[in-house]
């Protein structure tokens, strides 16, 4: 009968129940939506960089991450070749990466030179999809692909020649001339301005690093398998010689920026929680006030304070639960919609899109469809409600039946 009592009390003042549950619902709904969009946008951006260039994990010579010198190039030993046998690794893309000065006519600029195996590269990063003009590289191509931004800056067209000058392996001179075979367009403006792709053998010749690479990019089935793969690779390679980095370790700045932004949104959510919390507390106050006569009677006829408080607490928690569930159910279709159809910032005007591109971000905001986001917000809001519902304990504990029944 105690549950019956609680249940009926919930529906006694329907309007208040709906308003309370409604504000809980709104809080959950808004929080889930906000976090989903934010998480989705960041993930999209990280995915862009990861999928279009880094891969989920890479193998370097020990210390390369801190000092990215061509002198840390290494040979692809048999042990390294065997990494391809690790489940979840689809393929291994060997790269020789370094910097160079690039010039054409009077113009000169710093570039990033990536020597890679064209087919493997394409299998992992779909590089050929980024071609806007010209053709993709062959395995032993003698020509180069360059980013569109770089081509514009150096006034390069297809068939023109780019000159690369740099320091090679162990200080040898590195210089070469390459015909432009194709132009690439990247979402990230930084890549657009900097990238020069060569076939791996040609890059090794340029840098005097025959048979050497600086990086093995691991083409892993999916993001979730990354940590498993990294530990398997570590186990195979042992300590000391190589470093195995996942995408978070390769891009600490970006990961940190994401965390900072997430923290910022929690500040916004915190304000929301407080506002909603006050609303809920208001109804709890009203409800306990309104029922203090009844509480007085119950105490008078022999109900103890603790069970009475628990019933009232359960009532409020239940209302909170209804609101939380409703909020989750309501936000799902919206989040799902924006997951499938990302918000397109280009539609909000050139400037917005430009600003995003300036920061190296694609101007779209997809929503993340992540159950843990729903759950986290639901639990936070429910905890707040549960916590506020403690008030009746205090109220009932100090309630004097006589004064409560005197109206």
């Amino acid at each position: 009968m105690l549950t019956k009592l609680a249940w009926r009390n919930i529906w006694r003042n329907r309007r208040r129940t709906f308003i309370t549950a409604g504000s809980v619902m709104f809080a959950v709904f808004f929080a889930v939506f906000l976090r989903s969009i934010q998480e989705g946008t960041w993930n999209n951006m990280l995915d862009n960089v990861v999928n279009f260039y880094y891969g989920y994990a890479q193998v370097h010579r020990e210390g390369y991450q801190d000092d990215q010198s061509i002198d840390k190039a290494f040979e692809i030993t048999d042990t390294l070749k065997e990494l391809a046998a690790i489940p979840s690794i689809k393929s291994i893309v060997p790269r020789l990466e370094s910097f160079a000065l690039a010039s054409h006519d009077e113009h000169t600029t710093g570039v990033m030179v990536v020597g890679t195996q064209p087919d493997e590269e394409d299998g992992m990063t779909q590089l050929s999809d980024r071609l806007v003009q010209g053709n993709y590289l062959d395995a032993d191509d003698k020509s180069a692909l360059v980013g569109l931004g770089l081509a514009n800056y150096l006034k390069l067209g297809l068939g023109d020649t780019i000159v690369l000058i740099s320091q090679g392996y162990h200080g040898v001179n590195a210089a070469g001339k390459y015909a432009i075979k194709g132009l690439l367009k990247f979402g990230s403006p930084e890549l657009n301005k900097r990238m020069v792709y060569l076939a791996l053998p040609e890059a090794q010749r340029l840098y005097g690093a025959e048979q050497l690479v600086t990086t093995l990019a691991l083409n892993i089935e999916n993001k979730e398998a990354t940590s498993k793969v990294v530990s398997a690779v570590n186990k195979m390679l042992g300590k000391g010689h190589y470093e195995v980095l996942d995408w978070q370790e390769m891009m600490p700045d970006l990961v940190q920026a994401k965390e900072l932004d997430t923290g910022g949104s929690y500040l916004v959510l915190f304000v929301l929680y407080i506002i909603i919390g006050f609303g809920i507390f208001g109804t709890i106050l009203m409800m306990t006030e309104e029922r203090s006569y009844e509480f007085g009677i119950l105490l008078a006829i022999g109900m103890k304070r603790l069970p009475l408080s628990i019933i009232v607490w359960l009532e409020i928690v239940f209302i909170g639960l209804i609101g939380t569930l409703a909020g989750m159910v309501l936000s799902f279709p919206l989040v799902y919609y924006f997951h499938i159809n990302p918000i397109d910032l280009a539609a909000m005007g050139e400037d917005v899109a430009k600003t995003y591109e300036k920061f190296g971000m694609e101007p779209v905001m997809p929503a993340a469809l992540d159950p843990s986001l729903f759950l986290t917000q639901a639990i936070i809001v429910l905890l707040i409600t549960t916590f506020l519902a403690i008030y009746p304990f205090y109220k009932i504990n100090k309630l004097d039946p006589i004064s409560a029944m005197r109206r």
Binding site: L2, E294, I297, A300, I301, G302, M303, K304, I402
Partner: protein, 229 residues
């Protein structure tokens, strides 16, 4: 043995600010089976006395014994248990829990006493029949008249098998027909079942039905009359 004994009970409200002496040395004994009215002008201390006897309030001085036990010394939780098992309360109005039906209201105290479902069912139906509400058991208080609500309250007060029933102006909000009806029921329960009733009232017709009338004036007993019957 008398079921209620008060000895030199005084009650001072607001002792630190503006003291109000609501009771000044009340000595009283009530025996099993009494049908007693406490009367007196407004402010004479009737409610205060009933609250103290019922363990809802504590005397400033003196003591109250129920069935030979000094209740002024019980802590809050024990006092709640004491009320549950020993005293039936009927208040002036709004006695019932609005979301429970008449029958559930009567059952509620027995639930607190952890009686079995079968016993609760049987007793609540028996009591509601005794107060003439056998056809209204599943109604909520809002669907009952004031008189019917007070009859449910009497049934509830008896449900826990208390030593006695305390009723503070139980007819104050009732019309004369309902008043007479409620008094009939109380008198019958008193006569047939031996239930002890102590009630306060202003109503002369109610006073006329009592077999003992205690008159309070300014917090002290001014007269105590027993009638033959």
């Amino acid at each position: 043995m008398s079921i209620i004994t008060t000895k030199a009970v005084t009650k001072v409200y607001n002792p630190t600010t503006i003291p109000v002496e609501a009771l000044r040395g009340v000595d009283l004994t009530v025996e099993q089976g009494e049908f007693t009215a406490i009367v007196g002008p407004s402010g004479s201390g009737k409610t205060t006395l009933l609250n103290i006897i019922g363990g809802l309030d504590r005397p400033t001085d003196g003591y109250v014994e129920v069935n030979g036990k000094d209740i002024s010394k019980l802590n809050d939780n024990r006092l709640i248990d004491f009320r549950k098992d020993n005293i039936g309360f009927v208040f002036q109005a709004y006695n019932l829990i609005p979301v429970l039906t008449a029958k559930e209201n009567v059952e509620f105290v027995m639930l607190l006493q952890k009686r079995s479902k079968a016993e609760r069912d049987a007793r609540s139906e028996e009591l509601l029949t005794a107060v003439g509400l056998d056809d209204q058991m599943d109604r909520r208080p809002a669907q009952l008249s004031g008189g019917q609500q007070q009859r449910v309250a009497v049934a509830r007060a008896l449900a826990s098998k208390p030593s006695f029933v305390l009723a503070d102006e139980p007819t104050a909000n009732l019309d004369s027909k309902s008043t007479a009806n409620l008094l009939d029921i109380m008198a019958r329960l008193n006569k047939e079942e031996g239930v002890t009733f102590v009630f306060s009232t202003h109503d002369q017709r109610v006073i006329d039905r009592a077999r003992r009338v205690i008159t309070l004036v300014d917090g002290a007993i001014a007269s105590d009359e027993r009638k033959e019957s």
